[in-house]
């Protein structure tokens, strides 16, 4: 059984889907990195803020100076071109560089966490270990690659869609059509389609279509008879969400990389056309596939990776209460565009010796994006509290105690107290253990002890 499975996985198949994937993904990364620099986000995100929210386990990651940040981004652009045109060891260095630098920039500040950035990081990681004898330059329709090298990309994209779809199967999304009821009417000024968003059933319709689309799209793309219409819906869906929501390059990314589900035949043609356009000469095929032994090593590396991707998004079931409220186990689970949440947070710093207490002006330390994100995410509230304690300790506040009074509104409901305002957050640590200082409510809005 296992042997049969290994044979299936290692079976040589045409490499053009992989070559094209690297081409499309690389081009998208070049574009999005240049866009990031052009929009001035290096300064806004990395070099101007006084304080950065850290990722758990990556507290040591610090931004470098503005020039160095620009150099890093330029190197990323070069590396992204590298994964398109290089092969063999040169390719691997490019992929590794891209993975390390991209992940580094993401780890600088938790504020800017997006599922899609996480996805790009994972893709770069996968690219690091894929066999890559062939690139846009030396590959052709005869080039071969083991099946698993394409399958793993398909599986990773499937995780993204299916989990995003499963997360939408809940009462609030499907029945109440929240938060789409908030988001869609705000788009009523869009040309042509704008008026649709003022109709009361539109949010309901979009909620169901979104859920069904996310759950099924991968399977409809895999199945040859439905592929064409499925891809058409990919394009329409992402173009619409791209127009409606402020989600940057991600619609483009998804439209580009879902071509990985296309047929060998399509990829052969696509590659030939691209090579013709850029006058890339056809090189005789040189298929020296990895030995089975070497492939098995990589398959064993990928096994825990896939298991991690399968189970990690479910860790939220270990925490009691409403996931959308307490957000313990929310990230890294492909929960995208699911809720409208906002908060207002006041922090009190008390001198443990004199007893004098002051209120913090958050704007002194955080930009508006950081303040907005922090005000409804418990781990960020805790981090900011610790930062404040340490900051004011240096300013002469002795044995600082830090309390937070936070009001959070979820999906247009009345805002409620979010964390216990009596708890000294300096005494709390960010771990995987439940954060008991988050106030939880039952369905009638009563506090759950």
């Amino acid at each position: 059984m296992i042997k049969k499975f290994t044979t299936y996985l290692t079976q040589p198949i045409g490499a053009t889907p992989l070559i094209n994937f690297r081409l499309i993904f690389g081009v998208l990364l070049v574009f999005s990195t240049l866009r990031f620099m052009y929009l001035g986000w290096i300064e806004d995100h990395y070099t101007q803020p006084v304080f950065h929210f850290k990722y758990w386990g990556f507290e040591f990651v610090e931004p470098v100076g503005v020039t160095a940040m620009y150099i890093i981004h330029i190197v990323m652009v070069i590396a992204a071109i590298g994964i398109i045109v290089l092969h063999g060891w040169a390719y691997r260095i490019a992929a590794l560089t891209l993975f390390i630098l991209f992940t580094y920039t993401e780890l600088i500040d938790l504020t800017y966490y997006l599922n899609h950035y996480y996805f790009v990081s994972l893709m770069c990681l996968i690219l690091c270990i894929l066999p890559a004898q062939h690139s846009l330059i030396n590959g052709n329709t005869q080039s071969q690659t083991p099946r698993w090298s394409i399958l793993i990309i398909q599986i990773q994209i499937a995780f993204l869609y299916v989990y995003a779809g499963l997360a939408k199967i809940n009462y609030t999304w499907l029945i109440e059509a929240m938060p789409l009821k908030i988001w869609l009417p705000a788009n009523d000024q869009l040309p042509i389609i704008g008026p649709i968003f003022t109709l009361s059933f539109t949010p309901h319709l979009f909620a169901w279509i979104g859920m069904i689309y996310d759950c099924l799209i991968v399977f409809l793309l895999l199945y040859a008879p439905t592929r064409k219409i499925a891809y058409l819906s990919v394009v329409i869906f992402h173009v619409i969400t791209g127009m409606l929501f402020q989600i940057g390059v991600f619609p483009l990314v998804m439209i580009g990389i879902t071509t990985i589900y296309f047929s060998q035949n399509w990829h052969d043609k696509f590659l030939s056309i691209v090579q013709k356009i850029f006058f890339i000469p056809i090189v005789a095929p040189k298929n020296n596939l990895w030995t089975l032994k070497k492939q098995k090593v990589f398959l064993w590396i990928l096994l825990p990776y896939v298991l991690f991707q399968l189970f990690f998004p479910w860790r939220f079931v270990l925490y009691k209460g409403d996931l959308f409220w307490h957000e313990q186990g929310y990230r890294f689970g492909w929960r995208v565009m699911l809720m409208e949440k906002a908060g207002t947070a006041f922090f009190y710093v008390k001198d443990g010796v004199t007893g004098r207490e002051g209120v913090v002006d958050n704007r002194e330390f955080l930009n508006s994006h950081q303040e907005k994100q922090m005000a409804f995410q418990p781990d960020m509230i805790l981090q900011f509290a610790h930062f404040l304690g340490e900051h004011y300790a240096q300013k002469g506040v002795q044995k600082p105690e830090v309390r937070a009074e936070v009001y959070v509104t979820l999906n247009a409901q009345k805002s409620k107290l979010f964390v216990n305002p009596k708890v000294d957050l300096m005494k709390e640590k960010d771990t995987f253990a439940p954060k008991n200082w988050i106030i939880q409510y039952d369905e009638d809005g009563r506090v759950v002890e």
């Binding site: 986000w41 806004d44 997006l114 899609h116 995003a164 009821k181 908030i182 988001w183 009417p185 705000a186 788009n187 009523d188 000024q189 003022t198 109709l199 009361s200 059933f201 309901h204 319709l205 169901w208 979104g210 219409i229 969400t241 791209g242 929501f245 402020q246 989600i247 940057g248 390059v249 991600f250 619609p251 995208v336 565009m337 409208e340 949440k341 906002a342 908060g343 207002t344 006041f346 710093v349 004098r356 002051g358 209120v359 913090v360 002006d361 704007r363 508006s368 994006h369 907005k372 404040l388 004011y392 300013k395 002469g396 009001y407 959070v408 509104t409 247009a412 409901q413 009345k414 805002s415």
Partner: protein
């Protein structure tokens, strides 16, 4: 064949959706944001800036009278004109966007003309060598003028103004304010008005988003800067610092704060300076969206408390004095402002779906 099946499936969903949810007309009927923007531009922003421009002109005349003939009569009339102009500013300080906003090296209007506390030493230096191109915002603007015309007894002030350099600097200060205010008024009377009304989305950079964010910033300034700082409520402050109140030298802090609160209230209700509503407002906008009605009633109930606690502050003494002598009343007011913050800040932006930052959100 399959296309047909998919199409019929989609249309089935459409029909089911349409059938199951009747249109709740008044709930979701599209709120006309352009009309709201027109109301703000025509009845609040433009007239308020024009008022400011007029009072700056009057103030300039008083300054020129006083510097030509420094005597106590001219000083007193100058002081009155200053107060009138600075009160007029309170009705503009939430409109620091567009022509009044920060862009590149241009600082926001509030930074240019209304920063406090001023630095007495920097003003002394500036009198010797005036320079408006540096970043010493604490040596210029309305509050630098205030320092020059209110610090000391009136006869002392008149005596100090025998100094030509001091006269020149006072004139330079009002010219600086006049230039900045004129620029803003000219833009609003020119092309910016149309840009503002046309940009009627809710994304970042839209007029609604810009105006909303500045409205919240202005509101938060009352608590964070005008009350908490002088009140010694910032962590690390070990005592009150009454000299940090707005308009410390004239002692008119409370009177000015009353205007600021009124200005905030007018913006929320979409009312002009006379308290009359002639068009759609933020309140109407909130009322038109999901979850809006209960937010409006919470907001208004809390606002009544804010005003009540503000009115409890004595008008017989200066705010600087009361901070040390009637802490309880000040704290009550501060607390109600704090309770109010979430309604204006996160609750309102959330139900309206107003974008706050440029960065991308989590897409799918």
């Amino acid at each position: 064949m399959l296309k047909m099946r998919l199409l019929s499936f989609l249309s089935l969903i459409l029909i089911l959706g349409a059938a199951s949810c009747e249109r709740t007309a008044e709930e979701n009927d599209n709120f006309n944001r352009s009309k709201m923007l027109e109301n703000y531009a025509n009845n609040l922003i433009k007239p308020n800036f024009t008022d400011l421009q007029n009072s700056v002109t009057t103030l300039k005349t008083s300054i020129s009278n006083f510097t030509q003939t420094p005597n106590e009569t001219n000083l007193v009339s100058l002081q009155n004109e200053w107060l009138a102009a600075y009160k007029a500013w309170q009705y503009c300080n939430a409109f620091n966007f567009g022509p009044a906003g920060a862009l590149g090296l241009t600082r926001a209007l509030s930074e240019e003309i209304a920063t406090f506390p001023v630095s007495e030493t920097k003003i002394a230096t500036a009198i010797a060598a005036p320079n408006f191109n540096d970043f010493n915002r604490d040596s210029r603007g309305f509050l630098a003028i205030e320092y020059l015309i209110f610090d000391g007894t009136n006869s002392e002030i008149v005596n100090l103004f025998n100094d030509t350099k001091r006269k020149e600097y006072l004139n330079a200060l009002i010219n600086h304010i006049e230039t900045k205010v004129n620029n803003v008024v000219n833009s609003w009377n020119g092309t910016y008005y149309n840009d503002f009304v046309k940009n009627n989305g809710t994304d970042v950079g839209s007029s609604v988003s810009q105006m909303y964010n500045e409205f919240v910033r202005s509101f938060e300034t009352i608590k964070n800067v005008k009350i908490e700082l002088p009140f010694g409520k910032r962590p690390g402050q070990t005592q009150t610092e009454p000299h940090l109140v707005e308009a410390f030298y004239s002692g008119k802090s409370t009177e000015i704060l009353a205007e600021h609160l009124k200005a905030i209230e007018n913006i929320y209700f979409g009312k002009n300076k006379q308290g009359v509503q002639n068009g759609l407002s933020f309140k109407d906008y909130v009322n038109s969206v999901e979850g809006g009605k209960s937010l409006v009633s919470d907001t208004e109930a809390q606002w009544i408390l804010v005003k009540e606690k503000f009115n409890a502050i004595s008008r017989d003494n200066t705010l600087a004095y009361l901070i040390d002598n009637d802490a309880e009343t000040i704290e009550n007011f501060r607390l109600e402002l704090q309770k109010h913050t979430r309604y204006f800040k996160s609750d309102m932006s959330s139900v309206l779906g107003i974008a706050i930052t440029y960065s991308s959100g989590d897409g799918d």
